[in-house]
């Protein structure tokens, strides 16, 4: 086996399945997550959300079984029962999830049997999450949890809510205004075509309410659930409707068309709505977007968010010169091209598309582009933007010629997970037609990597 150094480097997104499971369970307020792990693994969950979700902490509904070397030698599986019972008595969750980690799995303890026993014993649902740390990523951990929660639901019931649309695979990572705003957008989009929004897995909705999802006639499968679409179809006993995230004008319109078609809404109704909304959006943005047109940016995001963001940037006349796909499980460059093609967008000619870039690569690609005077902005998670923080402020000065607009360094915009500086105290969707307006607002007021007071574009 041969390796290159990039293989070993810390990645833009190296978060694993345990973090993904924690994210999903954070999005279910009446869930409790018991981690059968070592002490450091606690940081893979609670700590990773500390800077991201300022509205609600994770710690209060998570616990761990305090495994150390002595417990390992004596068989650590015996610890799970007392901790699970104690967690139930203290928190009374509707659903209790239990996960393990590789070094405990290596000992051969029969954790599935322990969990099955607890499921029979405790008044709440108890489920095992297999989220090993040597494979998968944040998204597959989230998806594993989604599948297991769906398994707990009664999908044999008749879908008696004909106009209701349930959603699988909404990536809810915090209780802040961006996701609150997205939920309002989804609700409004569906209402505008005569439908209603049913349970969204996951969306900060309690498990007790999520269990009504099988009663919705239409069930959407968002891209975050797509890798397990076949499994989910078997579990749910339904034809799931695959649809891209409604990010940007075209993806939002496409979302409406796909959902309407699946739910039997008349095409004319939908097209009329789309025409009105797109016109209104154009009028709302007006000449504001002239200040953005012609800029070049780098974007680092998971594939669904990247596709939506790139399509939106194309609509705004902003050129993507570097596209980094974060994560391992949601697709690669070919999937990005396919996603964009579904709305008539494309990867711009000359754009470098990089799969799962390391932080060193994020840093090097952006440094080169800044030095060459070809980068006006960087959109990415706090992890990506942090890697740029130590680039010398002299970087843009090293190029031989160029316009003054770029000498303050690129603007930076936090998107995705985790955020450090971007927080939303009110509804700030990034989905739906309103999401485009909010995105433009953020672009217009984005801070610069270094701000010396030199005028940017006027």
């Amino acid at each position: 086996m041969t390796f290159d150094l990039e293989h070993f480097r810390l990645k833009s997104l190296d978060l694993g399945q345990l973090t993904g499971a924690s994210m999903a369970l954070h999005a279910i307020p009446d869930a409790y997550f018991l981690k059968h792990t070592g002490v450091g693994c606690k940081h893979k969950t609670v700590t990773q959300f500390g800077t991201h979700d300022w509205a609600k902490g994770v710690a209060a509904h998570e616990g761990w079984t305090e495994v150390g070397d002595a417990a390992l030698i004596r068989g650590s599986g015996r610890r799970v029962g007392p901790y699970a019972r104690s967690a139930y008595q203290r928190h009374k969750p509707s659903i209790l999830a239990i996960s393990s980690v590789t070094f405990l799995d290596l000992t051969g303890d029969d954790l599935p049997d322990v969990v099955a026993g607890l499921d029979a014993e405790l008044p709440c649902e108890v489920m095992l999450l297999k989220v090993p740390g040597f494979e998968g990523d944040l998204y597959s951990g989230y998806l594993t949890t989604l599948v297991e929660v769906c398994r707990r639901m009664d999908w044999s019931v008749a879908p008696d809510r004909a106009q209701e649309v349930a959603v699988l695979g909404y990536l809810w990572d915090r209780y802040e205004g961006d996701h609150q705003g997205n939920q309002l957008q989804l609700k409004a989009l569906l209402q505008a075509i005569g439908l209603s929004l049913g349970p969204v897995l996951f969306s900060g909705t309690p498990y007790t309410a999520l269990r009504d999802a099988p009663r919705s006639k239409t069930v959407l499968c968002l891209p975050y659930a797509e890798p397990k679409r076949k499994t989910l179809q078997r579990v749910c006993k339904r034809d799931l409707v695959s649809v891209d995230l409604p990010i940007g004008r075209r993806f939002t319109s496409q979302f409406l068309r796909v959902v309407a078609s699946a739910a039997g809404v008349a095409g004319a109704t939908v097209e009329g709505l789309i025409a009105r909304q797109e016109t209104a959006l154009g009028e709302r943005l007006g000449t504001m977007v002239d200040h953005l047109r012609g800029q070049s940016v780098a974007v680092f995001a998971d594939l669904p968010l990247l596709a939506g963001t790139m399509a939106t940037l194309e609509e705004l006349g902003i050129r993507v010169v570097i596209a980094g796909i974060r994560g391992r499980t949601l697709g690669k460059a070919a999937d990005l091209e396919a996603a964009l093609a579904r709305v008539g967008a494309a990867v711009p000619a000359g754009c470098q598309v990089v799969d799962q870039p390391s932080l060193a690569r994020v840093r090097a690609l952006c440094a080169d582009a800044i030095a060459a005077g070809t980068l006006d902005g960087v959109l990415g998670s706090a992890t990506d933007l942090n890697a740029l923080g130590t680039l010398p402020a002299s970087t843009p000065l090293r190029r031989s010629a160029g316009t003054a607009s770029r000498t303050t360094g690129p603007f930076k915009l936090e998107i995705g997970f985790p955020c450090r500086d971007h927080h939303c105290a009110y509804a700030m969707p990034f989905m739906g037609y309103m999401g485009v307006s909010i995105f433009v607002q953020r672009l217009l007021t984005a801070p610069r990597l270094w701000d010396t007071g030199v005028a940017t574009r006027v």
């Binding site: 070993f8 015996r78 402020a393």
Partner: protein, 467 residues
Amino acid sequence: MMDDEAFWREQERRKKDQLGQPCCTQSGMSWSMIDLPGNFAVVIHGEYDCVNCFHHHIGRSAWRYYSTRLTEEMITTGRTEPALRACLELIAKEEAPEFVLVLGTCPVEVIGDAFHHVVASVAEATGIPMVALRTSGLKLSSQAAMLDWLFSTLAAIPAGPPVDRAWERELALLAMEVIFDAHAGGGTASDVFARLRSLAVPANDASAVRVNLVGMPSTVEGAVPEPIAMLGAAEVIVNGVYPEGASLASWRAIRHARDSFVVDTTMYPRFLDVLRGQEQRVHEVPLPVGLGPSRAFYETIGRAVGAPTRVAEAIAPLAARAGDALAGLQAEVAGKRVAIALRMHANYASDTLAYEGLGEVAAYQEFGFDVELFVQGPPEDAARQAFAEGLAARGCSLPFQVFGGPWILGEKLQAGGFSLAVASDTVRNELAAVDLPLLTTRALAPYLSGVVQNVALIRQVLARGAR
């Protein structure tokens, strides 16, 4: 449901003899190195998810981290050497760092991987200093023991030239000014040269009085301008501030100091042995948060370096200002109660861990608060007794309660009639629910200049609580 009493009784016997949260040494060291500037590499030898027990989005050196990304097959067959060897050789060839730290993880510890032989072999072949540490989460080490291990490792890597923190700060400020002026199109060549010439020569005179400051509280700048200025005025050169504010260069220069001033010397037996082995004198200083502790901090240094009068004269104006600010607040605070929560943090911060988390207590008492401690832990009698003994051993006779976890803290504090809580940020929802103002641990600014800021902060927080 089953009765677990026997299990929990056994758990009680595992009581820690320390008040701090236990830690994974890999997590702690990774976390502690990530904001360290310098040309080094950290390799986490394990499955890739082991890199997630620390933040990647805070700190200047995340991009210098690597994982050997062991697969299930590698772990179960024990064939980990090719990946580790390749990783280290590629780092040496492509990055040529000054130092490589290789950290073990739970999976490699469970399979008994003798990876230190591989590290030693690549270090010898490449000539790059590489250190392998058998870290993991299995030992449930204390955070202080982890820091002691890391600091003793860093202090022992090959020495570099002396550094002068005051000079480094001046250079950084000057460089930024010159760059920004050039960036903005201002300044002539003669201006630039004049400013560069104004920079003093760094103090690398071996006869100079050089001191290390260890375990200092963090500041916004990550550096410590006040002690540098105060001690500089007394002709004492700050050789290095550890761990926050340190760089790889300053760790490599740590042996150039004559004296090390350490907050809570009991935390670092191994590290202090290394310093003493480098013929340094080690002195205990209080955590410089609050007027009294900050004054004692400076006075201790002044006496130890034979310059008590010069140091006293240097700090006098700041100390007077701090005293005035404090006197104004004490009457407003009198009779108010503050709850300080302990044993909630796994942040690996030396100042939080100092004196078992009690380092800031003196500052709150100085404000005039009646302090009650809340220790997170098992509420059983045996645990309470262990905590009582731990506090008494620190000379702390303050009243305390034990609470089971974050979910119950709000309720407990509401019943206690407190005006303010000092705790981990993880309980913000619980305290907001009972409308109790929260100041997170480490919210107080350090040193004499911090006292004035802290007085303003306390006023703001109490005013918020009164609304």
